[in-house]
Symmetry: C2
Subunit: 230 residues, 2 copies
Amino acid sequence: MTAKHETGSPARTPLSRERVLHAAVALADAEGLPSLSMRRLGQELGVEAMSLYNHVASKDDVLDGVVDLVMQEIEVEPSDGAGWQASVRRSVLAAREVLTRHSWMPAVIETRTTPTPAMMAYMDAMIGRFLAGGFSVDLTHHALHVLGSRVLGFTQELYDDDGPASGSAEDAMLLFQQMASQYPNMARMFQEVLHDTDDAILGDGCDSDAEFVFGLDLILDGLERLRTAS
Amino acid sequence: MTAKHETGSPARTPLSRERVLHAAVALADAEGLPSLSMRRLGQELGVEAMSLYNHVASKDDVLDGVVDLVMQEIEVEPSDGAGWQASVRRSVLAAREVLTRHSWMPAVIETRTTPTPAMMAYMDAMIGRFLAGGFSVDLTHHALHVLGSRVLGFTQELYDDDGPASGSAEDAMLLFQQMASQYPNMARMFQEVLHDTDDAILGDGCDSDAEFVFGLDLILDGLERLRTAS
DNA sequence: GCAGACATACGTACACTGTAAACGTACACT
DNA sequence: AGTGTACGTTTACAGTGTACGTATGTCTGC
């Protein structure tokens, strides 16, 4: 009996994944992360909450999409010949600028378990900058850990473990080759790092305690140098 | 009609704030942060959820208390004469050890807005180590920002703003004097930093963008040194 | 010993959350 | 014209934090 089928309806633009995600970003920007609920989001789009599920799989899916969308705002300029340091610096600051603009992002990212394509692309570009700058793969790996919280403005320790038995060896190999084509630098680093440590594919192949100490000492040494210089 | 008033009840130990908080830590340790709900917590204590509210003000209060409790686990040994670097290092690693043991802590801390006493004490001791090691107040201030995510294993950017008009100038002064007695090093740093910048009491008196760049460059310089050394 | 007072635990209720299932409608293709 | 599919709605459920009113202790003054 809800028959309000006025022919010549106001031609509302149909929902779509993109529209949902954009609305989600806008909502979080405007009213904060807690306001980003499915009902509120639907309301924002003039639609019932459950309708969203025709375009996104779940709220987690929304959050993943939102993260990816925002990460794409970080423009990754090619590294000109001005040296790795300037290049990395600009890139990190670009990321910070975007994440500062969407101040709720760090909190969201920390809840995500799998990195999104845009994050992978960002990391791959970052790794490329270090390698092009004359860093060994090993030192590049360390560098990423040290920058850690700085690269994206939060502690990441991402891809902690991809799940203990999340796939067979063949699956992993396939995934790796697929990754290699899209994220060559990342693939190269993984390959080398995994080769060094005798760990199996399980485990991300780096000792997080050791990485922490490495970064800590790098910072402490830098501070000591500043102290004696003053 | 639920009259089961058996005199000689099993003498259950009465609830208390301490008991609630300890149970909360144990629960989060055992079953993860999402399991830490008021109902579940009451269940763990053999009590209904609402009964907890006789001893804690809210769930936020529980989380604050839990953070403080865990922070107290970090033993802050006095700095022996082995140099500031060793002292700070041990202290940071001690914090990391505790936070690793309670892996849900970083997530909780990020949700807190006001630092707890135990966190203040930890920071005060840390500042003291730098000052005793010959750092200027200014460099100490920078150092804290650089260590940032390292000190406690997460990005803090704490005390963003204590609220724009959260108190009069006299209130702020009183609060400050109270703080000065308990956290002398912190008070000293605040005083000097606030004095340098011409900002009013409002605003934490440090340019977070500048601090970010300072830390970033310190790290990049350290990496460059490692690169040329290899 | 007993009455009243007070702290505390309980049950209920409300406004939220995400989302599973069933339902209706409107358009596209055969 | 018939049919299938896409998509929005409705309803419902199991959670969450917590405000309110009631019942049960336990302790104190007479």
